[in-house]
Amino acid sequence: MSAGLAVQLDNVGFGYGEAQFHFDALLPAGEITAIMGPSGSGKSTFLNLVAGFEEPHGGTVRIGGADMAGVPPWQRPVSMIFQENNLFAHLPVEKNVALGRAPNLKLGEADRSAVAQALQATGLGGKEKRLPHELSGGERQRVAIARALVRERPVLILDEPFASLGPALRAEMVEEVRALHRRRGMTILFVTHHPEDAERLADQVVLLDDGRTIATGPAQDFFGAAAPEPFRRYLGKPLPSPG
């Protein structure tokens, strides 16, 4: 029902203060793309431009072919999961998820069952009434995923969603996202610092450096022998100089 839409950044320019950005990328519909690059390279800006938290100064952001200029975040076909502060600390799990369905919490029968299903699917059944501080870090991110589920938007953006989790939990969450993708087939963009996350999850990789898209390609290329040189440098594994 929420099959993915292609995301395209066409000659997108943006800047504030000293920082200048220029992005060109095509993220195919229904695929998972990892956005990587050193800190300050513009990963968050990239996501913010797609999600609508920033408006480009030039160029076009298209989702499913539609120009997103002037479309506010909540009207874009996009769900977003942040690194932290995904939940309203004063609202129980159930309501946090329900807000993804109705921003005024007025739920119909269909909405209620969608919420219940999403909670079951993310293994949060029985924890509906808990407050966020009564949950573990992993559970909190799952609530966010459950909310993304009920929103049923064709594009899901994850901004370093696993950064604050330990290795075991991170692996678990990667599986959670993979399962979500299998069920819904949406387009997923995620930012990560961990190559292994990207390797396990991504179909495609976009590499940013100094505010520019410097390499784009299928994940197996990036993690195979034919990895582009900038990506090797980013990983700290440059090709041994010939000779």
């Binding site: 506010p72 975040p73 909540w74 769900s79 309203f88 993804g100």
Partner: protein, 536 residues
């Protein structure tokens, strides 16, 4: 950009600034129009009397500042040297009381204690070997100013001392610093940094002090500009003189502000003493005794007038007062005026905070003046004396309407605006914190407007908003500035009634009313403290 321009939060912020602009601008317009009508009379008011007023205003403020700030340095240091002793917390809370205590209550408390017929008069007569002269005039003004500002300065200095990193204290202990070298290398640098802003704040408060000078100053010799403005309007009905005095008052405040800014002072200081970090030194017995004496002395000095208020209040016929129509009416008037003023203060601050937050997303810089106004500019209303705003509107409105009938509107507006900077400080941290956590989330989920307020903002901001409301209400409840100008038989607040009873020399009644007023404001302060302090 376009989206920013049409944001309703900016419109609300602009509306809040417009209220401030109209209130202040209207007052100035009133003064200027009146000044232009009769320029000769306004010029004639620049006489020897005015010169003496300026001199006395600055002189008493200088003395008050010295007498408040220098002892405060010592008391704060003593308190910081002993971060843990039974009663320390109580003393710090006691030091917060004068901030909320209505000036007229304090004035009465001081008279009950140190007046010629006060509780301590006979012992003081014996001590000084003559008849105790009482505290009329300069001495009364100074004692009252020190009562208000010594505890404030102490709390601010203590806060500065608490910012010294614990490692420095560890280092001092390891190097075996004497108390003097600790003072010289650790404590003094921290104190010196906050000295200009603390001294500046105290000086400003003393320059603009109204109620204390009105009640404790004795006649033309001990009169400040603010009181003279009031007298020119209510005594003489001499608007031309009021205009000249007001202009001079503004000039003096502006000059003081500029000088302070040169010294690097932040005149919008605030006091929130944290729990002191651990100390690693062991003060000698001598130092301990000296510190204990200092703290005890300061505590007694603050406690005395408060205790005198309670003692003389208890001797009043409280039951009769409670059932007196005039008292009940004044209490009701006070409560509704101050709750509306507090509501206005909170509304204004919330609008400004929200606009400021929205503007912080502006990266073009084209909103910079607007942002400055919502951020810093609004705080400057504090340096415009309420009596000046009152005087301007009084002069402006008197041709159009019965000014005394306009009292409620003026009291609400001026007190609301004057309490706004305090409300701003209480609400802003919680709002910023909530906005950092929720803005993007709400934007991505489309939670907006009323829904956002109901589901997200209200649960988070409820406590700080109520705290700000209670604090603003406590401040307006004790105000005498505007009501002194606009008050009449029809509109009387508790402080106004108190002043009237004091004037008709019904001392017992005045003492009883002072006790009521003190209890009301302290209850509100306590509430504000509770609500504000328990934030997650």
């Amino acid at each position: 950009m376009a989206r920013l321009r049409s944001d309703p939060r900016l419109r609300q912020g602009a509306a809040a600034l417009a209220v401030l602009a109209v209130l202040i601008g209207g007052a100035f317009a009133g003064l200027l129009v009146e000044g232009m009508r009769n320029p000769a009379a306004a010029l004639a008011a620049f006489d020897a009397y005015l010169l003496r007023l300026v001199r006395f205003t600055l002189w008493q403020a200088t003395l008050s500042t010295l007498l408040s700030v220098l002892p405060a340095l010592l008391v704060a240091r003593a308190l910081s040297r002993h971060p843990r002793f039974p009663g320390r917390q109580v003393i710090l809370q006691l030091f917060a009381v004068p901030l909320a205590l209505p000036a007229i209550v304090a004035a009465l408390g001081l008279l009950a204690l140190l007046g010629r017929a006060g509780l301590l008069a006979s012992s003081l007569s014996v001590l000084t070997g003559g008849t105790w002269p009482g505290i009329y005039g300069l001495s009364g003004i100074l004692v009252a100013h020190v009562f208000f500002n010594l505890p404030l300065a102490t709390r601010l200095f203590l806060e500065a001392l608490d910012t010294v990193p614990a490692d420095q204290h560890r280092l001092a202990a390891q190097l075996g610093f004497t108390p003097f070298s600790t003072f010289r290398f650790i404590e003094w640098p921290a104190l010196r940094q906050s000295l200009p802003s603390v001294a500046g704040l105290v000086f400003m408060l003393c320059v603009t002090s109204f109620t204390l000078v009105l009640t404790l100053g004795g006649g033309p010799r001990a009169t400040t500009l603010e009181v003279a403005i009031y007298q020119a309007l209510r005594f003489d009905f001499d608007p031309a003189r009021a205009v000249s005095l007001t202009l001079v008052q503004l000039g003096v405040t502006a000059l003081v502000l500029v000088l302070l800014a040169r010294l690097g002072a932040d005149t919008a200081g605030e006091a929130n003493p944290s729990v002191s970090p651990r100390r690693f030194h062991r003060p000698s017995t001598g130092e301990r005794m000296a510190n204990a004496a200092l703290i005890a002395l300061a505590t007694l000095f603050v406690l005395g007038p408060i205790a005198a208020t309670v003692i003389s209040g208890m001797s009043a016929d409280l039951a009769r007062l409670l059932f007196e129509d005039a008292v009940r009416n004044a209490a009701a008037t006070s409560l509704w005026l101050s709750s509306l003023a507090a509501g206005l203060a909170v509304l204004l601050s919330l609008s400004l905070i929200r606009a400021r937050r929205t503007l912080s997303q502006d990266r073009t810089g084209s909103f910079r003046p607007f942002r400055w106004l919502t951020e810093t500019g609004a705080g400057y209303v504090l340096v415009i004396p309420p009596i000046v705003i009152g005087a301007g509107w009084f002069i402006l409105l008197r041709r159009a309407a019965d000014v005394f009938a306009l009292a409620p509107a003026m009291v609400i507006l001026v007190n609301g605006v004057m309490a706004m900077p305090f409300a701003l400080r209480l609400i802003r941290p919680a709002y910023e914190d909530g906005a950092n956590r929720h803005d993007r989330l709400c934007a991505s989920l489309g939670i907006q407007g009323w829904q956002r307020f109901r589901l997200v903002d209200w649960p988070v901001l409820r406590r700080p908003l109520l705290a700000a409301l209670a604090f603003a209400m406590a401040l307006s409840l004790g105000d005498l500035g505007v009501i002194a100008l606009f008050g009449s038989e029809q509109v009387q607040t508790l402080p106004y009634l108190l002043l009237a009873r004091m004037s008709s020399y019904r001392t017992a009644d005045a003492a009883g009313l002072a006790l009521f007023l003190a209890l009301l404001t302290l209850a509100l302060m306590l509430l504000a403290d509770r609500l504000g302090g328990r934030r997650r």
